[in-house]
């Protein structure tokens, strides 16, 4: 497996028709980090991920493992080792779990391999099935999976893609408590070998699993540090209290969901 790589974002700016969604953000995610990106709705979290993955045009600089990403097409950025998920799980519903993973593993395949049948389960696919706990469901159509399982399948697709950086957009939204716990542990295991950035609204989940946290607000970086540092930051408390004034300041200051 290739080494995890870091993500260096410098003065990133994204505007849509005069509205600036991301306004000069600097972000430095070190290799192997498990970084949480939090902030109220409209803070620019998803837009930032869109910019990094080439989905929207942006100004500034995004360097991954030393190489500039801005201006490259989506599939080329993906091939450089960056994978992402979306708020709503997008798996190929009509294909089986195994087919989903096999396709994710295959972007570098030769024409000859593509034109033949898949006769066995490639080793990385088998390993990913094990990691995400879906080995028994390998032959089921992805459309029949439960919501949480779809999210895991998406993460599994990033694993077989052998990405060095995972960008996950609200991976535990709509999950039960047990599923959240399992997902968090999965992310911890993954981040031993890869860099993981998670956009999340669930503050309990963040407190349990984040190694570092960046808070975005109105397109700007508001605060950055460990969970404790960010929670203690008066600026963060102010922003979140503005949205949930009823919450007490201590401990649950950032309970916003």
């Amino acid at each position: 497996m290739s080494e995890p790589a870091g993500l260096e974002i410098h003065q990133l700016r994204v505007s849509f028709d005069g509205f600036t969604a991301v306004d000069g953000v600097d972000l430095d995610v070190r290799p192997g980090d498990l970084r949480f990106l939090i902030g109220p709705n409209g803070a620019g979290k998803t837009t930032l991920v869109d910019a990094v993955t080439g989905l929207v045009k942006a100004e500034g600089s995004v360097r991954f493992g030393g190489a500039e990403l801005l201006g490259r097409s989506v599939h080329r950025i993906a091939r450089s080792g960056i994978g992402r998920t979306f708020q709503t799980a997008t798996v190929f519903e009509e294909l089986t779990v195994l087919q989903n993973l096999d396709i994710a593993a295959g972007a570098g395949r030769s024409v000859w391999t593509m034109l033949r049948r898949r006769n066995d389960v490639p080793e990385p696919v088998a390993r990913a099935l094990e990691t995400i706990g879906l080995t028994k469901l390998a032959g089921s159509p992805a459309g029949t999976l439960a919501h949480g399982q779809k999210q895991w399948l998406e993460i599994g697709m990033l694993l077989v893609q052998d990405v060095r950086l995972l960008l996950l957009d609200e991976p535990v939204a709509g999950m039960s408590h047990d599923e959240r716990q399992a997902t968090g542990e999965l992310l911890e295991r993954i981040s031993a070998e890869r860099t993981v950035v998670v956009i999340e609204h669930d503050m309990d989940f963040m407190r349990s699993f984040a190694r570092s946290v960046s808070v975005l607000h109105a397109g700007r970086l508001l605060s950055e540090g460990t969970v404790a540092e960010v929670q203690a930051d008066p600026k963060v408390q102010e922003v979140y209290l503005g949205h949930a004034a009823a919450e007490t300041v201590t401990g649950v200051a950032v309970q916003e969901a």
């Binding site: 599939h75 994978g83 190929f92 096999d102 396709i103 593509m114 034109l115």
Partner: protein
């Protein structure tokens, strides 16, 4: 109920089709009906490509007439030159034209090898060129369908406008020979039928291989979620292009073999209406299933002959209705009927169990 599995079933299917096409049909049908069947099988060849591009890749190819026409005209041009004999111009050029020698773009088609290769490669090249523009610009859905239809219409209109070199509205008619064989001879007509039947089986085998390959799985993935595929590091434009180009090659071959079977190719056979007819067969039979698309194409083509013999005016309306009904109520076509009924039965059974459970 499945008696045979996987590979054995496939071989049994091909063997059955071969017996039907090569033994039973020639025995049971008159020469006239066999000639009609040859024509239907050409439609089915187009449907094989549509099954791949539309059924599997989600590309509603409403303009396959363009590629069918390119293949057909490439073949007909060669046969017209051969009919005229060395040094002579094809009959219609002497009639309408003032030219004393073949136009430059006709000349390569005098060579049989060039003409044969062109029937498949020319449509594929045109599809590659058009497709790379269309898919890179991310034109999809209804826009793609309208664009492909417009291209077929434009080609037909262009042919009509060039009467001196293309035969105009009449097309290239009255084709007599096929690589030295007289097409008026019923024995040779039969041979043409066998060639067409063999070509159809070959295309089905080719499409089957593609559908069951890793590429086939990827194509379905692109149909379901193009954006997701892009984030996996693939270029969906290339994936779609392959299906589009292969479908164009199949339509081209179908057009080429249609010419000796029917003896004519004209703009009326490649414009908007025939292009839609190609799609209707696949839609009614089941666009995602090879067997469904092929049988649907043959069935609709047969129904067209049968019904338009009886009610010439009503067929067009009936055909439109068929298309709408198939897409609105049975998007998977007749091929999906078994699955739909089975699911409904299971649901009813489940509902019955629940009802019993509640009553108890």
């Amino acid at each position: 109920m499945t008696l045979l599995h996987g590979r054995a079933r496939t071989w049994a299917g091909f063997a059955g089709a071969a017996v039907l096409l090569f033994a039973l049909a020639p025995l049971a049908l008159t020469d006239f009906r066999l000639g009609l069947l040859a024509k239907y099988l050409c439609t089915a060849m187009v449907a094989v490509g549509i099954c791949l591009a539309w059924g599997r890749g989600g590309l509603l190819t409403l303009g396959q007439g363009l590629f069918f026409g390119l293949g057909g005209y490439a073949m007909a041009m060669h046969l017209k030159i051969a009919d005229a004999g060395p040094g002579n111009l094809p009959d219609f050029m002497q009639l309408y034209g003032t030219a004393t020698e073949l136009p430059w773009w006709w000349r390569p088609f005098a060579n049989p090898a060039f003409a044969l290769a062109a029937t498949v490669l020319l449509p594929m090249a045109v599809a590659a060129l058009l497709g790379s523009f269309i898919f890179r610009r991310r034109v999809k859905g209804a826009y793609f369908a309208i664009l492909s239809q417009a291209l077929a219409a434009a080609f037909a209109i262009w042919l009509i406008g060039q009467q001196a070199t293309t035969g105009g509205t009449n097309g290239l008619t009255d084709i007599q020979g096929f690589f030295g064989y007289d097409l008026d001879d019923p024995v040779n007509q039969r041979t043409v039928y066998f060639v067409i039947a063999a070509a159809l089986l070959l295309l089905i085998a080719l499409a089957r291989q593609l559908i069951h390959s890793r590429y086939g799985e990827l194509l379905v993935a692109v149909r379901d979620s193009e954006e997701r595929v892009r984030f996996l590091g693939y270029d969906p434009a290339k994936v779609k292009l392959v299906a589009y180009v292969v479908a164009a090659g199949m339509a081209g071959l179908a057009g080429a073999l249609f010419v000796p079977a029917v003896g004519i190719i004209s703009p009326a056979m490649i414009g908007i209406v025939p292009s839609i007819e190609f799609v209707i067969g696949a839609a009614v039979g089941g666009r995602a299933s090879l067997v469904g698309a092929v049988l649907g194409a043959i069935g609709v083509a047969w129904a067209k002959t049968a019904l338009s013999e009886e009610f010439p005016a009503a067929w067009t309306y009936f055909q439109g209705l068929l298309f709408i009904v198939a897409l609105a109520f049975l998007p998977g076509g007749l091929a999906s009927l078994g699955g739909v009924l089975r699911r409904r039965r299971d649901r009813q059974r489940k509902a019955a169990v629940v009802a019993v459970g509640e009553a108890a």
